[in-house]
Symmetry: C2
Subunit: 232 residues, 2 copies
């Protein structure tokens, strides 16, 4: 399988939360994948998918785009492998969380990592990144639309209240088993992390879950390349 | 089984969303129940449960309070009956929605039905209702804390976005099968409905789901007694 995966100026920087969901879903299923670094302005490279966003997964003769569609594709084509959803109700749960993320975390996270993402994208993506994000966040300069770490962490903590309450009683969002519900929420933290931003205060009770997620699948997320400034 | 169920001045008015969840869960399991009308100031009547809120379910020798605990109790003691959750992942989903409701709909719904609920409670509950709700909503008179129908409907519509997006693809929140996930969200609409308040605009695409919920279990929710002012 081949995954077109959003990359920064450095090929190794992979910072799309939606691509991370697919990476983790593939690891969950035990399916090997080759990732191909892709930039926002590489529209021609994925034109064969009929649209212009990653993740795009090429699985033999089939091309699937959109992280949710890819998760369903993997679950449906590999029912014998460990389940991403844990059944029909679990699939509905993941679908709800997918939508909840868009309306709860997505208004916050991209503004928390805005300047870091702008600095990290490939030079040829930078103009597009600035103009598209400035339009999205109220036609203001990126520098004004960006949240400080303190602002972003406070908004994240508030938005995550239901998640935190479930994790107070269960090791994973899906209950006792790791699954796609966790990957959805974790993907945002991984985006922030590889860009060198802490989306969660060190004292947050969700840190234990975050560590479990970083360790999952032989530390796939933990081993991801992180911007040097962040590692410092 | 015996359920202590929040009632208004009129015994027939049952307007607690949490008690409605239990009523629907019992119907889902096909378990008959006797409901006992209870008022906010009837603390002695449920002192045996060790706390002061309804729903309280007496199931033979066991007493269970808190709607979530009651749902889990019913699922665990009647595994042979139709499942409320659809498995472990579905139980985690319902738990998430239970918490999501508290942080998303609960800040809105009680303020949308505030004046109607105040008028509907038993005379002996009215002082307690006013003082406790005024304290909860910023130490303002009820009349100032209450949302207009238009305000409340707009806030509800916004809060319900992830729900609406799931229901655009599935007949129920839990996917193809009716279950406790639906009862959680529906319970707020039923509270508003019996108090004569429309929590959803007539044009809202969730109306089809709302009608399915009102029809479920031989129209249990639809047949509920509604304040006469509302019926007019």
């Amino acid at each position: 399988m081949l995954l077109y995966d959003l990359a920064g100026a450095d090929d190794r920087l992979r910072f799309s939360p939606y691509c991370w969901r697919v990476r983790l879903a593939l690891a969950h299923k035990g399916l090997p994948v080759e990732t191909r670094p892709w930039r926002l302005t590489d529209q021609e490279a994925i034109a064969f998918s009929g649209q212009g966003l990653v993740p795009v997964l090429v699985d033999g003769q089939r091309t699937v785009h959109d992280s949710w569609q890819i998760a369903c594709h993997l679950e449906d084509t590999h029912p014998d492998r460990p389940s991403l959803f844990g059944g029909a109700a679990g699939r509905a749960y993941a679908q709800f969380l997918d939508r909840w993320y868009e309306h709860t975390l997505r208004p916050v996270l991209p503004r928390l990592v805005l300047l870091q993402a702008h600095a990290a994208v490939h030079e040829r993506d930078r103009g597009y990144f600035r103009s598209s994000r400035e339009a999205r966040f109220g036609n203001r300069p990126l520098e004004e639309a960006a949240y400080t770490t303190a602002q972003g962490q406070a908004l994240m903590a508030q938005a995550l209240t239901p998640v935190r309450e479930v994790l107070a009683r269960s090791p994973y969002l899906g209950g006792s088993d790791l699954g796609y519900a966790d990957y959805i929420v974790f993907s945002g933290f991984q985006q922030a992390r590889v860009l060198g931003v802490a989306a969660l205060a060190d004292s947050d009770p969700m840190q234990a879950w975050l560590q479990r997620m970083l360790n999952a699948h032989d530390g796939l997320a933990r081993q991801a390349w992180v911007l040097p400034a962040a590692a410092a």
